[in-house]
């Protein structure tokens, strides 16, 4: 089908038949070559994940050898690993952090993004630029006074210092939502206002339903970021193992629980799984969200 449409589209008017023939051959070769490279790329990118899985189901002594394929398949390793370490507890902490942070980010960022995209006010551009700067600067730049602040409030050792800021200001969510909101025509909001809606109602009844894909993408990125976050939890909960999320637990997993590579890889696979499942279900909005974060030329 592909070659058909190709030849149908192409032939320039004045090309002699023999050159045409050669070109078709070149085309076919380059078609095969690029697809071979494409397949190879996909496989190479997947290989590390495959090795993780294969090692996870090996017996412990086999995991220490150079063999790649399990001689026996120990799927029970995925269950056993829960007895080696309180993974469920860590999972709960991760879920708490990610879910609350995401909820907070949406609550605070939707109105802010609305005001930045759809209202006109003095300092609007300045605040937007500052938001972008806050999004891009390394978190280590502001970490000393922030830590000091949370110590004085007696909240270090918990996840609170990580969650609370999301209820006020999350630069990335504000940025991404604003970019999404800009694509929604103003006319709909104007119409709603003529019908007697105030700004809040216009946002709530018109903009939010129309911007659902963008809001979903933002929520996913926020969830993903917090789920994967390592620096924040290390800083604030490092000393208090009861509040560790998975990302922090997995890093010290092997050392702390004296477990073998197969168990470590089983835990690694379990941590990656939710994210991969999330992606499979919501691929489109991921891709859309990513292209939105890139600066369009």
């Amino acid at each position: 089908m592909i070659t058909l449409s190709d030849t149908a589209r192409k032939p320039p008017v004045s090309v002699p038949p023999r050159v045409q023939f050669k070109r078709n051959w070149d085309k076919r070769l380059s078609y095969i070559a690029t697809h071979a490279v494409g397949i190879a790329l996909g496989v190479i990118f997947m290989l590390p994940l495959l090795f993780v899985f294969l090692t996870a189901v090996m017996a412990s002594d086999q995991a220490m050898t150079a063999s790649l394929w399990p001689t026996e398949w120990h799927f029970e390793n995925f269950v056993k690993v829960f007895q080696k370490a309180p993974l469920l507890e860590y999972f709960g902490n991760s879920l708490l952090y990610s879910a609350l942070a995401t909820a907070g980010a949406l609550l605070s960022a939707i109105p802010a993004a609305y005001a930045l995209a759809k209202l006109r006010w003095r300092g609007q551009n300045l605040f937007f630029m500052l938001t972008v700067a806050a999004m891009l600067l390394p978190p280590q730049v502001t970490v000393v006074p922030l830590y000091d602040l949370w110590v004085r409030m007696g909240l270090t050792g918990t996840l609170v210092p990580l969650i609370v800021p999301y209820f006020f200001f999350d630069a990335f969510s504000i940025f991404l939502l604003r970019q999404f909101f800009l694509t929604i025509p103003k006319d709909y909001l104007e119409a709603a206002k003529i019908d007697g809606c105030n700004e809040f109602q216009a946002m709530y009844r018109v903009l939010i339903p129309m911007a659902k894909p963008g809001i979903a993408a933002t929520a996913m990125f926020c969830f993903l970021f917090t789920w994967n976050d390592y620096f924040g939890p290390l800083l604030y909960t490092g000393e208090n193992q009861d509040h560790w999320p998975l990302s922090l637990a997995i890093a010290s997993f092997r050392g702390m629980h004296h477990v073998e590579w197969n168990m470590t890889m089983a835990a690694t696979a379990l941590i990656m799984a939710p994210v991969i499942v999330l992606f499979i279900f919501a691929q489109k909005s991921f891709v859309k969200g990513i292209t939105f974060t890139g600066v369009k030329g």
Binding site: F51, P138, T142, V144, P145, Y230, S247, I271, T291, G294
Partner: protein, 328 residues
């Protein structure tokens, strides 16, 4: 300021009052929408940014009140403290090598995918998926895959007759190994570049082809000029990414050392031989392991100065592209 302007321009008193009331109402609306963001920005970004500068001139251990010591932290940073130089070097290494590799690699993969006629979605998904893996978990996976004795990579290399090396266990190979890990997770940049590549009008390629331009010249004269803003974004984005490189380096150090210890334990940080000690990691250790908060703040100020330059480039680019959109 707005009120004085309005007073001057207004023809009659009642109209002014009405306009003023409307303006006040509008200001209230904006405030209603923006209040949490304003507050959060001030507390969680504005204040700490300024306070960092203050702390950088003090000696502070979180327990005793900060003690003003002038430029001592900065002097120490540039003269006597030995490891900050190593940390800065490692981060600079990453900024240069990682940025070059990440942009070229993403561009290369995106161009392959953009030339595919079928299976674009599948290949894109497969190349992007690793990006989502939690960095700590991805690092563990890589430490295993690149294990010198039984890792699949060295096993494969032995098969083709190459001695694979120690990767995360050798000071020379640890940063290249971290770079490979970062490339494995550079799917976001790849997708951004891919979107830009697909946006290049096909007529331009066809015109160039008719003019007899080969693959390389087409890339140079058609592709590059039209995706250059995205490439600039990629370069700056990668630099910022490299400047804050933290998780992978800290986890790789403790996982490859393989001893029974908690990740982030200062004994393991930077292993092997401080080759993975990045600037943000050393800042973390100084501030939150040794509680030299003043010194960490001074390091943060330097990091801010360096990264704000790159941040500014992106902010300006964003503003420019927005003006273009508004003008169109």
């Amino acid at each position: 300021m707005t009120s004085t302007l309005a007073e001057k321009a207004s023809p009659s008193a009642p109209a002014t009052a009405r306009a003023g009331a409307r303006r006040a109402k509008r200001r209230r609306t904006v405030l209603f929408f923006m209040a949490p963001a304003f507050l959060g920005f001030l507390i969680f970004f504005g204040y700490p940014l300024i306070a960092t500068v203050y702390y950088s001139f003090t000696r502070y251990d979180l327990i005793n009140p900060p003690q003003f010591i002038g430029f001592d932290n900065y002097v120490r940073m540039f003269t006597t403290e030995p490891l900050v130089g190593t940390a800065a070097y490692n981060t600079l290494w990453l900024v240069v090598i990682l940025t070059v590799c990440r942009v070229t690699f993403s561009l290369g993969i995106a161009s392959v995918i953009s030339r595919l006629k079928s299976g674009v979605g599948l290949v894109r998904t497969l190349c992007y998926l690793p990006t989502l893996a939690p960095p700590a978990a991805a690092t563990l996976a890589f430490v295993f895959v690149f294990n010198p004795e039984f890792g699949p990579v060295n096993r494969f290399l032995r098969l083709v007759g190459i001695d694979g090396g120690l990767w995360f266990n050798s000071p020379e190979m640890s940063k290249p190994a971290l770079t490979l890990l970062a490339l494995w997770g550079s799917g976001e940049l790849m997708i951004i570049i891919l979107a830009a590549l697909l946006d290049v009008p096909t007529e331009q390629y066809e015109a160039a082809e008719l003019d007899g331009a080969g693959l390389i010249r087409r890339f140079w004269h058609v592709t590059l000029p039209s995706i250059s803003p995205v490439l600039l974004f990629g370069v700056v984005n990668s630099i910022i990414y490299a400047l804050q490189f933290f998780t992978q380096a800290i986890v790789a150090a403790s996982a490859s050392a393989g001893t029974a210890d908690v990740a982030g334990n200062s004994k393991l940080i930077g292993a092997p031989q401080n080759s993975t000690l990045t600037y943000p990691i050393w800042l973390y250790v100084q501030g939150f392991r040794y509680f030299n908060m003043g010194y960490a703040a001074a390091m943060a100020v330097l990091l801010f100065i360096v990264s704000s330059g790159f941040t500014w480039i992106l902010v300006r680019q964003l503003r420019k592209s927005q003006h273009q959109e508004e003008g169109a």
